[in-house]
Symmetry: C2
Subunit: 349 residues, 2 copies
């Protein structure tokens, strides 16, 4: 492929693959005419579906992969099998044939193969999972969401750096406001590693608008563009947010169902319902991204439909187009976060 | 006071004290005719407001306290001043004159004086903050919410025990379902101390319906009655839930405002709005309780109105009526959680 912008696709992951994957690609390709796709999977099945999408076909190169990673496969087993569509798709990024890979397959396997194959960026200690979420007036990103249940100050500072670059590239925000998730705004509140991370970030001269601590209830107000936290807390916050949004909407629906009066009023509320759906539609926030590796891995939800899948692909394209991984490397060139942390810890004595 | 059910009241804490406090007491007294109150504060001001509530006056004993804990006071300073309404109100519990204390004052001060004065229950290592929250079909309790940012397995097991007793007494659930907050349902997911806590609880023969792990998005569905977690994660979950509930309702309001059509439909939706408000009204969930001490301390929100304050008082009454502290002590008589944890850790080698 001559075009520089190439995304590698695991066509076999997810509930309705490869059909949903191809349908999603078609949507993403329409929005991103400069992108090309390396599609790994059962080539006869993939090519048959591709026939329905002639303009997509022109930007796809299909490569046959004889095997598939199943949902029940253990990460320890899949990393040894180089014949799966997932392995081959990730490997294409390693070989420099693509800048990012998208898969809707088994999360654990995707993480394991990505780490093994792409390797962590030099100077980054741990990759993180990041996603895009809606707030009242826009979108924000949060990381880590579960790759690292325990994090030290250095990990958090690295997440801040990666999240900052991620938000610039994926949300198109020139100077994202970066905040550390904490349970209070006072300097002494929360955990020691958070206080240390704040110091590392402040003293790092990273090109970043670091605004200090943020509490979870301030996130929906849009106070920050990048929320940095450990994988346990991030996962807790993310799932609390998702669960509560669903609860409130469910309570409203339950309540409307019980009321004849409310049912009469429903037609008037159609526009409001649509607008809320447009803001909160989980398909528009599909895609968890594994960052910190030499290449970008995007995990689409296994149950995502074509629209959801296309969002994951579009995110991969946005990040690849702006050389996400290279930017992280460049930002790290001028700074040694590890050394900085040691200095701060030393000063504390 | 001859009656056994006595609640000690710090009449001077909070934004509109002592008026809101007395108004709240009047509401709580109506619902709990067997309760009596020891009211600490500026006696002339308190008595003047009490004149407006003759039936409340009959169940109140006002005691003068010359000083007040202010919002800006440091915990280290307030614990030395025995003349504040807060100190005197807590001390009444220590002296056995009351079973619980309610204050809308400075949280840090309330925690500090409570710990110092009431002391931790023997066999309990750390007190916890617990609150009551709404789920889709009822209410649940969650602890710890911030008293302990780092917790080991033993702390978590103790929180489970206290939360179980708390839910029985405050929610009137005969056999609460107790769950540990985690980021996955698989046994290996999450943190080591959570896995160990699960083992301690399972092997403790505590009288408890322990249902294992719960993920945050399952909480609103009402899968458990008691959610056990460390103070950092609990605070993150609580504030994420509060923030998101507000966000969704705000998005709907914003959207209705923008639409003439929706405004026309509003009268039909009045019932739905009221029902949602009735379920989600934060005043109905006012009161964070400090449990694990020899006596119960209830913190009302500083900005609570009379209804909110009455909820905090009613919670104190429910727990006192059923001898909350004694039940915790009794449950601990038959079990040594500390020893159990040591055994489990030993077995792991």
């Amino acid at each position: 492929m001559s075009n520089n912008l190439v995304i590698s696709i695991d066509a076999m992951g997810g509930d309705n693959s490869p059909r949903v994957v191809i349908e999603g690609l078609a949507l993403a390709a329409k929005k991103n005419p400069d992108a090309r796709f390396l599609v790994f999977g059962d080539s006869s099945r993939v090519n048959e579906i591709l026939k329905e999408y002639p303009s997509l076909s022109k930007v796809c190169e299909v490569r046959h992969s004889p095997e598939v990673v199943r949902n029940e496969d253990k990460p320890s087993a899949v990393i040894r099998n180089r014949n799966t569509s997932m392995f081959m798709a990730i490997n294409a990024v390693k070989q420099g044939e693509a800048q990012a890979v998208v898969s809707a397959g088994n999360t654990g396997a995707l993480m394991a193969i990505s780490k093994l194959t792409l390797k962590t960026i030099q100077k980054i200690h741990r990759p993180a999972i990041v996603t895009i979420m809606p707030h009242r007036t826009g979108r924000y990103v949060m990381l880590d969401l579960g790759a690292n249940t325990e994090c030290d100050a250095l990990n958090l500072a690295e997440f801040a750096l990666m999240g900052n670059v991620f938000a610039k590239h994926a949300l198109d925000i020139e100077r994202p406001r970066v905040a550390l998730l904490n349970i209070g705004s006072e300097e002494m509140k929360g955990k020691e590693e958070i206080h240390q991370a704040a110091k590392v970030i402040k003293n790092s001269h990273l090109d970043m608008d670091f605004i200090g601590y943020i509490e979870p209830h301030e996130i929906p107000e849009g106070k920050a563009d990048v929320i940095v936290t450990d994988g346990f807390s991030g996962n807790i916050a993310l799932k609390s947010i998702e669960g509560t949004a669903k609860l409130v909407i469910r309570l409203i629906k339950d309540s409307v169902k019980k009321s004849v009066m409310a049912k009469l009023g429903l037609p008037f509320m159609l526009g409001v319902g649509l607008r809320i759906k447009k803001t909160m539609d989980p398909r528009l926030y599909n895609g968890a991204m594994l960052v910190g590796l030499n290449g970008l891995t995007v995990k689409s939800h296994g149950a995502a439909d074509a629209l959801g899948y296309s969002v994951a692909v579009s995110n991969a394209i946005s990040l690849a187009r702006r050389n996400f991984v290279t930017t992280i490397r460049e930002e790290l060139e001028h700074v040694d976060l590890d050394e900085l942390l040691q200095e701060i810890l030393y000063d504390a004595y």
